[in-house]
Symmetry: C2
Subunit: 357 residues, 2 copies
């Protein structure tokens, strides 16, 4: 089969977005798209290309003072009656249009087009961002080949609707449990109802006042929410166990350890078990390439509220920003789409940034 990523397609970020959307690549099924992307990159004389599982990396070696990474994941969430891509007016619909094949198209387009970028550039296309960390291509490479990711600055092309979103908030999940004593509900005074006891957990959540924190001019807004609750044994039994699962999104001025201590303090006197904990990332606006990127965009950055892989770059010591044409609120929706004008605008920004000598 012929590679659908032809020179004509690669020359146009919009056509390239559509071609990438039309290569189905639900998480754990990225082989075909990785094969085509690798095939393209190996044909570009100014790049050296590497592959690890279904993650593909290519880089220039021009001896520049600075190196930047442009990164995007190749996988999508499961298709939901939104494959292949369709275009209606200025909107392109389909699974991955927003999250994030339009961002991947930026990087692949520039990898081919820019023979002499102002910095050395690492183009990084990775697998399995939408599922558990254990499969994440950026995580796997950071373990197996951390030197592939060495850079002064990273741009993650996740959907931000054309603005610059800086850093990201951390996320913590915990279960908060209550215990009681079972009894037949016809003689309930012999028992202690664990669901009733969970009322105090919900009371604290309802009364909770979330912080709003400004770091380097970017506001981060926290949240502490119950995301699940479960309790009960049978219709005639006073239950002895109730579990509330909470999700704390915390600003990047707090470390994971501080976030955990805070949650344990909020739910003092209850059984708290941390089930998931990921660090946030500070905005990372100080690096010279970051400043020059912001100048090319021309608008002020805002804080990224969702957790993204910029936190993985931050953990590697590389400041990172989020920038992509898709609307993050449409990601994972059946009617996911991207504004075609925004693809063109963003591609022009990146070309301007990387081309100015």
């Amino acid at each position: 089969m012929k590679n659908p990523l032809t020179p004509e397609v690669l020359a146009d970020p919009v056509a390239l977005t559509r071609a990438l959307v039309d290569i189905e690549s639900v998480s754990r099924n990225e082989k075909a798209i990785a094969d085509w992307v690798e095939d393209v990159l190996r044909g570009v004389p100014h790049l050296t290309t590497y592959r690890y599982s279904n993650t593909v990396m290519a880089r220039t070696s021009l001896g520049r003072d600075q190196r930047v990474v442009l990164a995007g994941h190749l996988d999508t969430v499961p298709i939901n009656n939104n494959f292949p891509a369709t275009v209606r007016g200025d909107l392109m619909y389909g699974c991955g249009t927003s999250d994030m094949k339009s961002g991947v198209a930026y990087a692949l387009h520039l990898a081919v087009a820019l023979t002499e970028p102002r910095y050395d550039v690492t183009y990084f296309f990775y697998e399995a961002e939408e599922i558990e960390s254990a499969y994440n291509g950026l995580f796997l490479v950071s373990e197996a080949h951390p030197e592939w990711l060495t850079a002064d600055f990273a741009l993650l092309l996740e959907p931000t609707h054309g603005i610059v979103e800086a850093g990201c908030q951390g996320t913590l999940r915990a279960t908060v449990g209550t215990s009681g004593v079972r009894a037949h509900s016809a003689r309930s005074w012999h028992g202690v109802n664990a669901i009733h006891a969970a009322g105090e957990v919900l009371r604290r959540l309802e009364a909770y006042e979330a912080r709003r924190v400004t770091v380097d001019g970017c506001e981060y807004r926290e949240g502490l929410n119950a995301v699940r609750i479960n309790g009960g044994v049978a219709g005639n039994v006073v239950p002895d166990r109730c579990t509330v699962e909470v999700n704390y999104r915390f600003a990047p001025d707090r470390s994971p350890e501080q976030a955990e201590a805070h949650v344990r303090e909020v739910f003092a006197d209850f059984e708290v078990a941390i089930t998931d904990l990921a660090s946030g990332a500070l905005p990372g606006l100080e690096a010279a390439p970051a400043q020059e990127f912001l100048a090319a965009v021309g608008t002020a950055p805002v804080g990224k509220l969702g957790w993204t892989d910029v936190a993985r770059f931050a953990a590697l010591g590389t400041p990172a920003l989020n920038f992509g044409p898709g609307d993050p609120n449409l990601a994972h929706h059946p009617d996911e789409h991207v504004e075609i004008g925004k693809i063109r605008d963003g591609a022009a920004v990146l070309r301007r940034w990387l081309s100015v000598a």
Copy 2:
């Protein structure tokens, strides 16, 4: 196969209890036990015997002024490493020893032994009490042959540990729901958390003061409990729905309609859906056979807190009491057992009551 309910076994309520326990009869598997019981009853000259599905009824027709029913269910909950029966000292262990083959043994023993009872007696052995009402033999016969159940008084031989438990409490189940608006938990202020909103439902349950009501000298103690709670969409979503299932056990001075109105008042402003509602039964101590039965027992009755099929008799206009040797707290437990002395004591009480001219 020879009927294990031999004349020697039928003459001894303890041996008969054991023989009945050793005929496995988990709900919906009562054919064998019903066949053997029917076979016994058809051989008794002073009884006329009828069968409907796996429910068997036999009655005297002596022209007495009063008719009483002795009733017991033939089925058990599922076996749980407690079959067949074993005897250790004064205790007989096994599935159904307490609930309620010791009670069934009373009725079957007396059906054979008492040729001239002081009242006309209807012996009623029914299927499927431990599962949904739709299968309950007492319910099915009350629909198909209500005349089989006509009587001035009914004694239900459910486990009461040798005391008289009068009437029963009603039971109501309802779901109390809260609604919200979904949002990504990273931007939770765009949503409304339905689990947090359920805090007020639990607060009302925790603060609830249950009534204690005395009717005809019997105390009934109510209870209102959450028995299940469920809510949540995913680990990163502010949930838009939470459901608390509550169980209200209400004294028999309250009608089902009054019970429903009360629950709706307690949870005013929430979405309340009634999922199950069964009337209680007043103590029913006025009938002459009831008074004479209480005299034979010699101890004061107490209110029955759990719901039992006495409510079905009450609905048919027949006052009913609960009386059996088993400990109701051991029913449905793996170590279910009955005190052999209590079987003998109760059988003596019943024989005294039904024999006195």
